[in-house]
């Protein structure tokens, strides 16, 4: 709803700005009365939207919103570091039962603070900041209890942290918490898979194929799960899973020995290079078809990385360095031209 409200506010604001330009006003030739009625209506609409939702009604407000988002994220991260370092500084003086109570209290107190902040402000800047502190507190909670009782670590903690982050994300509509929760969930899935095969769960990232398969499954989740309330969440699912999937393929293309496939390392690396190029090109195509800019962007970035890695392997030893970089520069120009054509196609599709 928030997103739709922002889109309406943007359209109304653009109409106001365009009508103020002499070229359009002379072409339309609106009477002063019509202009005044339009102005009245647009002001009323914008103030109604601003009253009901947290929308930016001017350009400067939009810039401020971005600044506040960045500030709240950095503030949240700094607060997390402060909580952890403060505890580390004094926990040695506390009895075991006090340590346990303190580390259990931190995430719950921060959660209560998140709920309070979310009820007080629609912008969710403070709620997002406190939710991050709450998640960090919960991570510290389980780590400290594990340390106190010398419990050998298992993958189960990843599931608990992931569930906590996802519940917070869905409760307050926080995209960053959703992204963290999904990354933790992917890690848990891969760690569980690794542990069930008899390997150390901490080595789950040694086999990127497992993570890549789980990322593909995650990409498909928004096709089956409706997100009527949190309409922006499917984009986060797709962004996280697309980036993780392509990172896995990239690592396999560079270090084929991490593969489970029963072929020699060089063959595996070539196969994954081709897979990476096809997958990123496929993502660009799929993103254009569906009008998902973020998927197109992720696909474009990885397509360029895969292409440049391949060129490096082909030509770095063979060409003089100046020529290598000249060829890369020429290819870069060609890619920019190709992407420009694709962008205009994307605009046409959206229109």
């Amino acid at each position: 709803m928030e997103k739709q409200a922002q889109e309406i506010a943007d359209r109304v604001r653009i109409v106001r700005e365009e009508l103020a330009k002499p070229e359009l006003s002379s072409a339309l030739a609106l009477t002063p009365e019509q202009l005044s009625r339009l102005d009245e209506w647009s002001r009323a609409k914008l103030s109604e939207l601003a009253g009901r939702f947290d929308v930016d009604t001017t350009d400067s407000q939009k810039r401020f919103s971005w600044g506040m988002r960045i500030a709240s994220t950095l503030g949240g991260l700094a607060l997390c570091a402060a909580v952890v370092l403060f505890f580390a500084r004094y926990w040695g003086y506390l009895e075991t039962w006090v340590q346990i109570l303190v580390v259990m209290f931190v995430p719950l107190a921060a959660l209560a603070g998140t709920e309070y902040a979310a009820r007080r402000e629609r912008t969710l800047y403070f709620a997002g900041l406190l939710a991050l502190v709450s998640l960090t507190g919960f991570v510290m909670n389980l780590v400290v209890i594990g340390r106190i009782f010398n419990i050998a670590s298992t993958e189960k903690a990843l599931l608990a942290w992931s569930a906590f982050a996802l519940f917070l994300a869905y409760r307050y509509g926080l995209r960053m918490l959703l992204a963290i929760g999904l990354l933790l969930l992917l890690s848990y899935g891969a760690a569980l898979w690794t542990a069930r095969l008899g390997y150390s769960y901490l080595t789950f990232y040694h086999r990127p194929e497992q993570v890549a398969l789980l990322a593909l499954a995650l990409f498909a989740v928004p096709f089956f799960v409706e997100h009527d309330v949190q309409s922006g969440f499917p984009a986060v699912y797709r962004q996280v899973s697309a980036v993780v999937f392509l990172l896995c393929i990239l690592s396999l293309a560079e270090w084929g020995s991490a593969s489970d496939l029963p072929f020699d390392t060089k063959t595996i690396e070539r196969c994954y290079e081709a897979t990476g190029l096809c997958a990123s090109a496929g993502l660009i195509w799929f993103g254009i078809k569906r009008g998902w800019n973020y998927v197109v962007n992720a696909g474009s970035v990885f397509f360029v990385i895969f292409l440049f890695c391949r060129l490096y392997h082909w030509w770095w030893d063979w060409l003089p360095k100046y020529l290598f970089f000249a060829v890369i520069g020429a290819l870069g120009i060609l890619l920019v031209m190709a992407f420009k054509r694709m962008r205009s196609r994307l605009v046409a599709v959206r229109a």
Partner: protein, 249 residues
Amino acid sequence: MTKHVSLLAAVGVVLVANGFALMHAARNRMGEPDAEIVLTQRELSYFPGSDNTGVELHLIESNRGRYFFGSSASDPANNWMDESKLRSLGFDCRILPANPAAVDFYRRQRPRSVFLALEYDGPAFQRYLEQSRKSTTPEEAARRSHLVPIDAATDYTALRKLHADRRNVLVVPAVIGVALLYATRGDAVQPAHPDELTGFIVDMPRTIHVPLPWSGKFRAIPNPAKASYRVHLRYGRLLDPQVTGVDIN
């Protein structure tokens, strides 16, 4: 109520996760311990952190594996991590070490979760001491940990049955990797032994938390590098250690 489901679920996750962790700790401490042992500053090192008041000791063993000490074939103290043992731990050893494909084949094998037996101040340590006498000074030898890995298995019960001395042998969960010991690669000299397989300890639970009142004694040590202490450890049913006493000299 349904409006607050996700909030209640988040609170529930915190409570349930803590409940499981505390139940695990209680189960570990209930009943007969798996082992009770006294270790010294040689096996448990202490380095105080400037910004961390918690006291944690770091478990050190001697003779971590031949992989870490080059390809000394004449190292009988650690001969147990050979090909047949690695097979029993689940490693695929079907390619001979001398085969050119062996390097890639063994590099691609992941470390495996197993149980590791460590003997304290027993025959394995004496053998190790004899073996390393030529290469180390008496001072270095005196500082060496007397805890030596002696066996590993995927089944805890079978391993404990083989090493039943609960006062001198610890059984801990560990991660073991497989590696090739080269004898001939890039070396024109006639090798003393053929290429062979060996195992090495990738990881095991090394950090041991010291609670109050013993942590205060550690914090009061003026020079931890020269301190002399004995730590009483109780390894519970679930193989998690617990400090039950500390003597600082």
